[in-house]
């Protein structure tokens, strides 16, 4: 029991930012992301004995992914919210503000620009279809290799590659559109 708790602290706790980031981009909802990560953590805790230390990140993110898809299915079933609903909400704003307060760069103008830009890019990523979104987040934010993404999603590496390429292509187009509107740069 103690060793399990210890393993959880050593291997899983340092990855909670990763888990939350992945859940947050997948679910596009701050409180759902918390629920998903909490559930995933409980699952991870129960099975942490069988985890090899080098694989913790991909292993945890796979559990997060399973939790996300279960949540998504449930939401669809209950028809509580459209999955295409505008993801911008109050929670998200406060998180951005919190994160920015912690930044070392204290120039208010730059913080503001950076926040606006970051929120705009996050919004664009959230607008990607889920299979592209997850590939992109796993690669760009969770730093997984193609092989790890392939194992985690159950896709061949070639599919991972093409999804990543597609995600980046879509993102670049949106970026250019927003830039033309003056939102970015």
């Amino acid at each position: 029991m103690d060793t399990r708790a210890q393993r959880f602290r050593d291997l899983i706790e340092p990855l909670l930012n990763d888990a939350y980031t992945f859940a947050r981009y997948l679910s596009r909802d701050a409180s759902a992301a918390e629920d998903i990560v909490q559930e995933a953590s409980l699952r991870a805790f129960r099975h942490v004995d069988s985890l090899r230390s080098g694989e913790a990140r991909a292993w945890l993110l796979k559990i997060v992914r399973n939790c996300f898809y279960a949540w998504r299915e449930k939401v669809v079933q209950m028809n509580l919210q459209s999955l295409d609903a505008d993801p911008l909400g109050e929670d998200r704003r406060s998180i951005s503000e919190e994160a920015d307060e912690a930044q070392l760069d204290l120039d208010p103008q730059r913080i503001l620009e950076r926040t606006v830009k970051r929120d705009a890019v996050r919004e664009m990523i959230e607008a990607l279809p889920v299979q592209f979104r997850e590939a992109l987040v796993l690669r760009e934010m969770n730093d997984l290799s193609y092989r790890e993404i392939a194992d985690l999603t159950g896709m061949p590496i070639g599919t991972v590659m093409s999804r990543l390429a597609r995600a980046r292509d879509l993102l670049r187009r949106m970026w250019l559109e927003r830039a033309a509107e003056g939102v970015l740069l």
């Binding site: 990763d18 939350y20 947050r24 992301a33 559930e39 279960a70 939401v75 994160a99 970051r118 890019v121």
Partner: protein
């Protein structure tokens, strides 16, 4: 390598996923082809912008606390620690709207995990349902100690009527009812309490995830007991003594006549 092939390898090159030989070939092409070079630079700019913006999120402190609180509980006896009434109302509305999804989630997350032994899969899902019901403020959707209130509550919410016997003569106090999901199927949960232990009795139509259970099982300190009754699969799960679950099953199969009806006063 032609431009189309090179275009496919730009992403892997920037991601450091390309092997030495292909890296050399792509770079040679880029050096000689301004159009591909521009594509490469556009992709590189996107990648570095994404990284510079630091788009990851930090897990909120509240989440870390929730996880720590959930895990601090002694493994064998979570029922003691979680009295739904004692919990803060913070998560209630959220869990109310999503009530049940953790169970579907537990079931499918477990099913997808290669780490779990196949044998206890179904039992595990039931225990997960039980534990979640205690942890996340969704123990009861209808709170009532009166089976005349609990039983009709299920009508219209699920396509069968679960038995809700009055088991007070055996010491089981009715707490309430809830809809839940096990193995992606809707089940009716009826909750009893005895000596402070919560007992979830799940009922489902045959083939809805409750039919593959052993008659009695123990998983991580929880006891399960399943039986079939009136065309339904039932399973009781609790951290209570297994003998009490057998007692509860007997109560289900031989319910006392409902109080207040003529048979009672004869």
């Amino acid at each position: 390598m032609n431009c189309e092939e090179v275009g496919r390898w730009i992403g892997p090159l920037l991601d450091g996923e390309l092997d030495v030989r292909n890296t050399a070939e792509v770079q040679a092409h880029l050096a000689a082809c301004p159009a591909c070079q521009r594509r490469y630079e556009a992709q590189a700019a996107l990648s570095s912008s994404l990284r510079r913006l630091d788009l990851a999120y930090a897990a909120p402190e509240s989440l870390r606390q929730r996880i720590a609180a959930a895990l601090d509980e002694p493994a064998g006896a979570p029922a003691h620690l979680v009295s739904p009434a004692k919990r803060t109302p913070r998560g209630v509305s959220r869990w109310f709207t999503l009530a049940g999804w953790p169970v579907a989630l537990a079931a499918s997350a477990v099913a997808a995990s290669v780490l779990l032994q196949q044998r206890s899969l179904e039992s595990d899902a039931i225990v997960a349902a039980h534990v979640r019901s205690l942890l996340v403020d969704h123990l009861n959707d209808v709170v009532s100690t009166d089976h005349h209130t609990v039983k009709p509550w299920f009508a219209g919410k699920i396509d069968f009527s679960p038995p809700v016997p009055d088991l007070s003569s055996r010491g089981f106090e009715l707490v309430g009812g809830r809809l839940d999901y096990v193995q992606r199927q809707p089940v009716a949960a009826v909750i009893y309490r005895k000596h402070g232990h919560i007992i979830n009795v799940l009922a489902g139509l045959p083939g809805r995830g409750l039919d593959k259970l052993p008659q009695a099982d123990r998983v991580q300190g929880y006891s399960l007991r399943s039986w079939r009754q009136a065309g339904l699969d039932l399973v009781a799960v609790s951290d209570i003594d297994p003998l009490e679950l057998a007692n509860l099953e007997r109560g289900y199969e031989n319910p006392p006549p409902p109080a207040g009806e003529p048979a009672d006063r004869r």
